[in-house]
């Protein structure tokens, strides 16, 4: 989707910046310098203000990374169920081909270790399940 379409869709809302950035991130996989410039202009903000917001939130990336990504939960409840050893295993299996990220809590704290691929959730993971998930990506 084009940037002006995204901006037009949200500009009438109260506090439109985060909804706009979410859509840009989803469409392009990152928020480019050009996008920051254009969004700033459309919302009558400085580029520094928009950059500051982009850099604050973990969900927004400044550079593209076309690799498929898996995010493993490594918060306490998953730690108590063995997520740390599993994360090390995931890194080994993934190598450079798949990006292994961290998420702090998916709210599935009784059936961990858990992971998220896109919007899809995976629970009760063990080494075999993680290898299969990463292998299929």
């Amino acid at each position: 989707m084009e940037l002006d379409e995204i901006v037009a869709r949200h500009i009438g809302r109260e506090g439109p910046l985060l909804p706009i950035l979410h859509d840009v991130q989803a469409a392009a996989g990152f928020v480019s310098e050009e996008a920051i410039r254009d969004i700033a202009q459309a919302l009558n903000l400085s580029r520094a203000e928009v950059s500051g917001v982009v850099s604050f939130y973990h969900d927004f990336r400044r550079t593209p990374d076309p690799r498929p990504a898996i995010r493993l939960c490594r918060a306490e409840a998953c730690q108590a169920r063995g997520s740390e050893a599993l994360a090390a295993h995931a890194e080994r299996v993934a190598g450079e081909r798949v990006r292994v990220g961290t998420v702090y809590c998916l709210g599935l704290c009784t059936v961990g270790p858990n992971a998220m691929v896109g919007d899809e959730l995976h629970a009760r993971l063990d080494e075999g399940a993680v290898s299969a998930l990463i292998g299929a990506m």
Partner: protein
């Protein structure tokens, strides 16, 4: 034709509920997707004529339909885990289709809003105050007093903001509520709107909860005519834990960096866009319809001391029977862990962390602590959002203390120095302790004092809870054996 009820909650789906549902349909059954009962070790939990089967995999479906399955857990409502609960906020869990207005109305939905519409704004806030309901997000501030402050504040525009940025590890009650019974939250927000004179509400949901976001968006559309002229908009966070702090959340909603604001002014006076704002947790707002429908006294009859009503406790981590356990305040930590059946690994329980990443670690010697705001404070802990995370004896508490600082460093908004710098120095110092420096612990204790009293919000101020409780209750984990 057999009617099969299967949850469509994110946890059940993550455990394969969609595949199981498809298999039932392939074999000719009629499938109804309902909310989760909250018995997570049994998910996907399938219900046929009130009888539960779980956990059901695709390969088990034929056996369940044929009636010869050994996965039966009997009548779900009679299961001890369910029968021993007091479900007020989660009264519909497992029983209704989350997005069915018909199911909602048939189970007492909208009664609280109807009654509120016939009351004065002042009478509504008085009812909430009389119920003794306190903020379920962690701070425990009396909800009625907050509402009354907003009601009497000057302002043409006022807002209701629902804090659904449930980032604490070991908590999932907000997620289950939004995915399982979204209309009760909408009803609670609409009542809040009437009480304080607000026409607009926002639900700020963390981006890690895509299923909850979709459910709430759909529910808001469906319920719009029923709560009009009150309007609700769903907003999605962007992966910042600190946005669960109320003033960070307001900044984030406004489209700014999620930095904490200094208080005063309180959000009740100057909140969203500078307007008087009620900001409450999901569970606080979801408790409101019951209070209005049944009366303040009915709610206040439950609980102990100054903690009135019920708390949806979340039993999580290394626990055998994990899930949602709503009960009146006053049950002890030990009773709750007992209900959870001890550790999933079968090893002895060494520690439980209560109240999320900023909550204290409790050793078994303190398991007699009753679930009550004041009782936990008296033991240098907090109940927070009601998450109970169990660890077995393989946990290294020095590593957990290190993680607490590491988490604070990763999630600090950077606005105040004790949190921004303290978290980094704290992690380094714990690492020195782990490497064998005996002087480090005194430094950590000193640093924790500074963070506790000098930080702007709970992130920096409460990180000392997990750190100091680990050091105090598990000193052996911080002693490095003599190296020869």
């Amino acid at each position: 034709m057999t009617l099969v009820r299967i949850p469509d909650d994110a946890l059940a789906v993550a455990c394969g509920a969609d595949r199981v549902a498809r298999r039932f349909e392939e074999l000719g059954a009629t499938v109804e997707r309902v909310s989760s009962w909250g018995m997570h070790w049994l998910e996907p939990l399938v219900e046929i004529d009130g009888i539960g089967f779980g956990p059901v995999g695709v390969a088990d479906v034929e056996g369940v339909l044929a009636g010869g399955s050994d996965l039966s857990v009997g009548r779900i409502e009679d299961h001890p885990f369910i029968a021993s609960q007091t479900r007020l906020t989660f009264a519909r869990a497992g029983k209704t289709r989350p997005l069915s207005l018909q199911d909602y109305a048939a189970t007492g939905g909208w009664k609280g809003l109807e009654r509120a519409r016939a009351m004065t704004a002042e009478a509504i806030t008085a009812e909430v105050t009389a119920s003794g309901l306190r903020g379920r997000g962690g701070a425990g501030f009396p909800a009625g007093i907050k509402w009354e402050t907003v009601r009497t504040a000057n302002g043409v525009r006022k807002y209701i903001v629902c804090n659904a940025d449930e980032g604490d590890s070991g908590t999932f009650a907000d997620r289950m509520l939004m995915e399982g019974d979204p209309f009760v939250l909408i009803e609670g927000m609409a009542i809040a709107g009437l009480a304080v004179g607000a026409a607009k509400g926002f639900v700020y949901i963390r981006s890690e909860y895509p299923h909850a976001v979709r459910k709430m968006e759909a529910a808001v559309r469906l319920a719009a005519p029923l709560v009009a002229p009150f309007e609700i908009e769903v907003r999605v966070g962007a992966g910042a834990y600190v946005c669960g702090e109320e003033t960070s959340l307001l900044n984030s909603l406004e489209g700014k960096r999620g930095e904490v604001r200094a208080k005063p002014p309180l959000p009740a006076h100057e909140g969203l866009f500078g307007c008087p704002t009620v900001i409450n947790n999901v569970l606080t707002l979801a408790a409101i319809p019951y209070i209005l429908a049944e009366g303040a006294q009915a709610y206040a009859d439950y609980g102990m001391g100054r903690s009135r009503g019920t708390m949806p406790v979340q039993l999580a981590g290394n626990i055998r029977f994990g899930g949602l356990y709503e009960t009146a305040f006053g049950a002890t930590l030990g009773e709750l862990i007992g209900i959870g059946g001890g550790s999933a690994s079968g090893r002895p329980v060494k520690a439980v962390q209560v109240g999320g990443p900023l909550g204290a670690y409790f050793p078994p010697s303190l398991f007699d602590t009753p679930f009550d705001y004041e009782a936990f404070t008296a033991r240098d802990g907090l109940i927070g959002h009601g998450g109970v995370v169990v660890f077995d004896d393989s946990v290294d508490m020095a590593a957990q203390a290190r993680f607490a600082f590491e988490f604070c460093a990763a999630e600090s908004c950077g606005k105040c120095t004790p949190c921004r710098i303290g978290a980094v120095r704290g992690r380094e110092t714990i690492e020195r302790v782990i490497a064998g420096d005996p002087d480090g612990l005194a430094l950590v204790a000193d640093l924790c004092e500074t963070m506790k009293f000098g930080s702007l919000c709970a992130l920096g101020a409460f990180t000392p809870y997990p750190v100091m409780s680990a050091i105090t209750h598990f000193p052996a984990d911080f002693v490095v054996e003599e190296r020869v």
